[in-house]
């Protein structure tokens, strides 16, 4: 049912049952918010979205108040603006004034709000709460001093990710966000996915940055600094430079990285091709015996940590293949290095990822080989943009280049790893070839694209029906895992992506991007696949060359040593 309400002396049409805020947005009236989150129920905590409703004694929060017939609303009356301004001033009175040093300087919602409300004077001042900076996690830094207690991180961790690491602790002005027993993040059940970082309106949660380490190694003549970048990075970085979302600037990134001084530039999609080869081999072996299904993807390190903590019983089903980042990292040091007469110890291997959990993954004990870690440091898409800016590179005006050999060619299947469902699609292409000996007529699997939530998808290869399950995001993951454990869900392959949408929507991606931007990145990956000539991992000549020269064949002992690992139960406070 629709009816009219009066907003700022103008009638607007609204739908019964919706909130004032949603009605205002649809009608192009902007009201600021801090705690409000799309798709999650309002909490009414920040009060920034208050509006004046005629006949109501107090201001009402538009995010939670439903529209009522013959309502008369003022969204920017002096009373409302004064209230909003005072609220922000109150927040600022307990905020460290270090914007210039803050991760979120320039893309901070609190800062924006202060600017919009024309706060130019410190009217309210007082004692600030003192907090400890939590640097324990290799992925996420928690700076409670900057926290405005909007609770977005708590809600996203609970309601979207089902991890429940965070909650409000204490009460009143002593309230903080914290973990169980107020432990440091690294000793908590945090899976490092970084969804909390993405929703945090201030710098209270931000990535653990490693730019200094990267710069130091670049300036260290004794080190041979190589770099790899994830498939989703190339379609996302452009946004950091004001270019429209989804534009692929792969070539430009190659050129920029080379200018910065990286000795070798590699594409992680090559690692993804390798991961496809190994995973397909694993599936083929299990198909022979018919046992050990489902094979569950393990290329998402946040999901792996989730499984280790919450469902150690599921670990035997996890694919033993390392993630593309780690596979590429491993062969860089074990194959590329000796091939070029470089001591693996003097190689400094940098990975640029759309992800925060990758920072954690690179530091895992399992990801080292003879005390040499596969990847030395991981930086995010956001950090890359800073690096490029720091080196004064005008990405609008440089010519694209290609990555370096011996991993200079990738298939577009490897590129698809950047989006949810892409991993499966890439695997199926090669699996089809391995099972039937024939190439696919059309490489596209429409059923696997833009899946929302958890979905079971049957696919036919040759005469055989395989059951695939896609989990796009961790919402509802308990049901899936329990289903697998108690055999009510029988599948051959399960792909689990912690971030909704996959790596294109990872925790290391540009801030302030909306659903539309994420979709544009995904589409861009599909477009790349559309025009690419090598559409499957097994058709990548360099992959075949690598096997011939070094790894022998998929699943060989050599491959097992370099490209596989296993995971064990992890004890944390759940």
């Amino acid at each position: 049912m629709q009816f009219n309400i009066e907003v700022n002396n103008r009638l607007i049409e609204v739908r019964k049952g919706e909130t004032i805020l949603s009605a205002l947005y649809r009608n192009g009236i902007k009201v600021p918010t801090l705690c409000n989150m799309k798709d999650l129920s309002p909490t009414g905590a920040c009060r920034i979205c208050v509006v004046e409703v005629e006949g109501k004694e107090n201001l009402v929060t538009s995010c939670s108040y439903p529209v009522e017939e013959s309502m008369k609303i003022k969204t920017h009356s002096p009373r409302v603006v004064k209230a909003r301004k005072t609220l922000v001033e109150l927040l600022l009175s307990n905020h460290p004034d270090d914007c210039l040093y803050c991760e979120r300087n320039g893309c901070c919602e609190l800062q924006d709000l202060a600017i919009d409300l024309n706060i130019r004077e410190r009217r309210i001042s007082g004692k600030k709460s003192r907090h400890k900076l939590d640097l324990s996690s290799p992925s996420i830094v928690r700076d409670p001093a900057k926290c405005i207690l909007c609770g977005r991180c708590v809600r996203v961790c609970d309601e979207i990710q089902s991890v429940c690491t965070l909650d409000f602790l204490n009460r009143g002005s002593k309230t903080i966000i914290g973990t169980a027993m107020a432990r440091d993040l690294n000793f908590s059940s945090c899976i490092n996915c970084g969804r909390c970082v993405m929703v945090c309106p201030t710098g209270a949660l931000h990535e653990h940055g490693y730019l200094d380490e990267v710069l130091d190694s670049l300036n260290n003549p004794a080190l041979h600094v190589v770099v790899q970048y994830g498939p989703a990075v190339t379609v996302s970085l452009a946004e950091e430079f004001g270019i429209k979302a989804g534009k692929d600037i792969n070539g430009v990134i190659n050129a920029a990285l080379r200018k910065i001084g990286f000795a070798q530039i590699f594409d992680t999609a090559f690692g993804a091709d390798l991961a496809v080869m190994e995973t397909v081999e694993l599936i083929m072996q299990r198909l022979e015996t018919g046992e050990g299904f489902p094979v569950i993807s393990s290329c998402c390190p946040a999901w792996v940590k989730y499984a280790e903590q919450f469902y150690p019983d599921i670990l035997p089903y996890l694919s033993t293949c390392k993630s593309p980042q780690q596979m590429l990292g491993s062969i860089i040091k074990s194959y590329y290095a000796p091939q070029n007469n470089i001591n693996p110890n003097s190689i400094y291997s940098v990975a640029i990822m759309p992800c925060l959990a990758k920072k954690f993954e690179a530091q895992r004990e399992e990801m080292t080989h003879k005390a040499i870690s596969d990847v030395d440091v991981v930086i995010t898409t956001r950090e890359l943009s800073r690096l490029i800016k720091m080196y004064g590179i005008d990405i609008q005006n440089i010519d694209p280049q290609t990555p370096d050999s011996p991993f200079g060619t990738r298939s577009s299947a490897g590129k698809l790893f950047g989006t949810a469902g892409g991993t499966t699609e890439a695997i199926l292409r090669t699996l089809h070839y391995r099972m039937t000996g024939k190439e696919l007529n059309s490489s596209k699997w429409h059923d696997l694209r833009f899946v929302s939530g958890i979905k079971e998808i049957p696919v036919k290869i040759g005469g055989k029906e395989l059951k695939i399950v896609l989990a796009n995001g961790l919402t509802g993951i308990e049901k899936l895992v329990e289903g697998i454990l108690n055999k009510t869900i029988n599948a051959h392959f399960v792909e689990i992506m912690t971030c909704p949408g996959g790596c294109v929507n990872g925790g290391g991606q540009p801030f302030k991007s909306g659903d539309k931007d994420v979709k544009a990145r995904t589409r861009s990956l599909y477009e790349i696949d559309e025009v690419d000539t090598i559409k499957a991992a097994h058709k990548n000549p360099l992959i075949n060359e690598l096997y011939e020269k070094f790894l022998e064949k998929p699943g060989s002992d050599k491959a097992k040593q370099q490209l596989h690992t296993c995971y064990t139960k992890r004890d944390v406070l759940l």
Binding site: R47, V50, N58, T61, R79, K82, T86, N94, G172, T175
Partner: protein, 648 residues
């Protein structure tokens, strides 16, 4: 009492008392009830008031003394525990009833008094100085020279509808309650009326919520009843956490069955099969009494499956609030029962639509619920004849602070506020009455010349006041208003749930501003004065935003004491800010110390400890304080062994 006896008594009440009109009780029934009412007794009874408050005053020691006395003298005396009459300052209190004589009340009894009192009374001789008064009874012989309780001004001016049983009956006995008409309202409601009827009855009675908001109770019930659902919940809000308020506590400890009965009727009116009482875990005695009352109600068949053969099922569960002031707010209370942090949620949706576990829920406070049985029993016309046009019935207040008598009183709506001052005996210290503070941390102070405002929801509101939940403090001129407001704000910032910005951050900043006013900086210059002055201006603007934008009642009303005191006691604020003086001598930083030359021995202890070297003199002759240097820390006073240091 063995089980058979108990079963027989229950049968007696169920068959003869609950369902019949008292006017038609056969003599046999009436006689037996007189025994239960302890009016017909065969041996002496000593009643002792045991409540949280009297226990603090030492009632348990008095009880032990009585038991020892009885044992020592091998007397046939029954010892009965009762609640409190409400004159808390006179506790511990005991009543003695010997056959044939009126029941008589003694006040301020200590264990040492037991021997003389009992020796006297049992020999019909009274230590008059400890007697408060005697009960009136037509068949008993009165004591000479002892006033009747109902003639004492304290009781005469009250209208004790709800407190009627408090301090009279044994709160641990359901039979005591039933013998005085208890649970007849429930029987009447459930046998003769539909849910709808009860809602209408309460609506027409004009009963309004006693928690402070004054929302019509019947309307609230009807709203919940009208939502179609498979489950509704009734909740009794007994989380009385206002500092200095003890109305509910006294009521629940003295007459718990009245609450249980009201709650069952309420649950019936909204067709809820489950009810909760949310009380404070720290009040062990309250919880204990309620638990016993509920147990007894189950035993009699007033709770549980198919109560009184009506087909209606009802269970009551006690939830012990683990201590958070904000849980007095209904949405926070609901979340607390659900096992969550007690943070309030936005309304709408109102609890009557989506409350506990998402089901329609009515939350009423203890006093509201205590009114229900009398409305049902005596009818709408009777109830609505009490009070004023828009405020029916009575209101209970607890009075503390600098009052002569800390007490609990029940007054008819429409009585002027001045009566409260009268009943508590005014200021106790012999100092000047300064103000009356209504409603604790969210309340208002009232000046002596404003006390003619009647106790009435609308009239108080028109005067810029609110009735609050019933806690009242009497202030004399030894109370610094800034200190009191600071205390309230300290309380609020500590008890704020921390969810919304205005309350969490606002209360904290307001507290700082208030602290600033009464703090002495190390060096005083014009700049500091300006800061303090600016602070007060901010207080007003912060208060306004806090009231306007806070999520729940706690934040919205938290600025009340500040705003009100700024209006009433502006001069006191200015004195603190500009003259740096606190007349009441409470704000320690603003005190200046002096040394009494008569008492000072020149021992040098103070001079050695003074952090600013403000004390000078020659050893062995009186020292003195250099006023300009004194920062008012009070160390000199602490170290002086001769009490020579004093402050102004």
């Amino acid at each position: 009492m063995d089980n058979q006896d108990n079963a027989n008594i229950i049968k007696f009440f169920l068959e003869n008392v609950l369902i019949n009109d008292p006017s038609g009780y056969p003599k046999l029934v009436e006689d037996r009830l007189e025994v239960f009412r302890r009016n017909r007794i065969s041996k002496p009874i000593i009643f002792i008031g045991i409540t949280s408050s009297s226990v603090c005053a030492g009632a348990l020691n008095v009880k032990t003394a009585i038991e020892e006395y009885i044992a020592e003298n091998q007397l046939e005396i029954e010892l009965v525990i009762i609640g409190s009459l409400g004159i808390c300052s006179d506790e511990p209190m005991i009543d003695i009833h010997i056959p044939g004589k009126n029941r008589i009340v003694f006040r301020k009894v200590t264990p040492n008094d037991i021997q003389p009192i009992l020796d006297g009374v049992l020999n019909k001789y009274l230590p008059l100085e400890m007697v408060l008064g005697q009960y009136r009874h037509k068949f008993h012989e009165p004591w000479q020279d002892v006033p009747y309780l109902d003639e004492l001004p304290f009781f005469k001016e009250q209208n004790r509808l709800i407190l009627a049983n408090c301090g009279v009956i044994d709160p641990n006995s359901i039979f005591d309650y039933m013998a005085r008409g208890g649970y007849r309202a429930l029987a009447k409601a459930i046998r003769n009326h539909t849910y709808e009827d009860i809602c209408s009855m309460v609506e027409q009675s004009g009963l309004r919520g006693r928690g402070g908001g004054g929302y019509p109770t019947g309307t609230k019930w009807r709203k919940a009843l009208q939502v179609s659902t498979d489950q509704r919940y009734m909740i009794c809000n007994a989380d009385e956490s206002d500092p200095g308020a003890f109305v509910y506590r006294l009521l629940m400890e003295s007459d718990p069955h009245r609450i249980i009965e009201g709650l069952i009727i309420g649950a019936y009116a909204i067709n809820a099969s489950k009810a909760f009482i949310y009380t404070r875990n720290s009040n062990r005695l309250t919880v204990e009494r309620l638990e016993r009352a509920i147990e007894q109600a189950y035993e009699v068949g007033l709770l549980g499956h198919n109560i009184l053969d009506s087909g209606f099922n009802i269970d009551i569960v006690i939830r012990k609030g683990p201590g958070a002031y904000v849980c007095g707010e209904e949405t926070a209370l609901i979340r607390s029962i659900e096992g969550k942090r007690g943070t309030p949620t936005d309304k709408p949706p109102y609890p009557t639509e989506q409350g506990l576990f998402g089901k329609p829920t009515v939350v009423n406070n203890v006093e509201t619920i205590a009114n229900i049985s009398s409305i049902v029993l005596n009818g709408v016309d009777w109830y609505s004849s009490i009070g004023t046009d828009n405020s029916k019935g009575t209101k209970i207040f607890s009075i503390s602070g600098k009052a002569l008598n800390t007490c609990v009183v029940e007054l008819t709506m429409g009585t002027p506020l001045s009566m409260i001052l009268e009943l508590c005996g005014g200021v106790g210290s012999g100092r000047k009455f300064k103000a009356m503070h209504l409603g604790g941390p969210s309340g208002f102070s009232v000046l002596p010349d404003e006390l003619d405002v009647p106790i009435d929801f609308d009239k108080l509101k028109a005067a810029g006041l609110a009735i609050g939940s019933g806690g009242i403090q009497i202030l004399d001129d030894s109370v610094c208003i800034i200190d009191m407001v600071k205390y309230f704000m300290y309380f609020i910032q500590k008890e704020s749930c921390g969810k919304c910005i205005p309350c969490r951050e606002g209360s904290r900043r307001m507290l700082e501003i208030l602290q600033n006013i009464s703090k002495r900086p190390q060096t005083e210059n014009g700049h500091n004065t300006l800061e303090r002055f600016k602070g007060v201006i901010h207080l007003e603007s912060l208060a306004e935003v806090m009231r306007d934008t806070s999520l729940c009642g706690l934040g919205q009303t938290a600025p009340n004491p500040v705003l009100r005191s700024l209006k009433l006691f502006r001069d006191e604020y200015e004195e603190h800010i500009f003259d740096r003086k606190c007349q009441a001598g409470v704000c320690r930083d603003l005190r200046t110390f002096y040394i009494d030359i008569e008492k000072c021995t020149g021992c040098t202890a103070c001079a050695k400890k003074c952090p600013t070297n403000a004390i000078i003199g020659t050893p062995r002759s009186p020292y003195f304080v250099v006023e300009d240097k004194c920062i008012g820390c009070g160390i000199c006073e602490e170290v002086c062994k001769f009490s020579a240091v004093y402050f102004k």
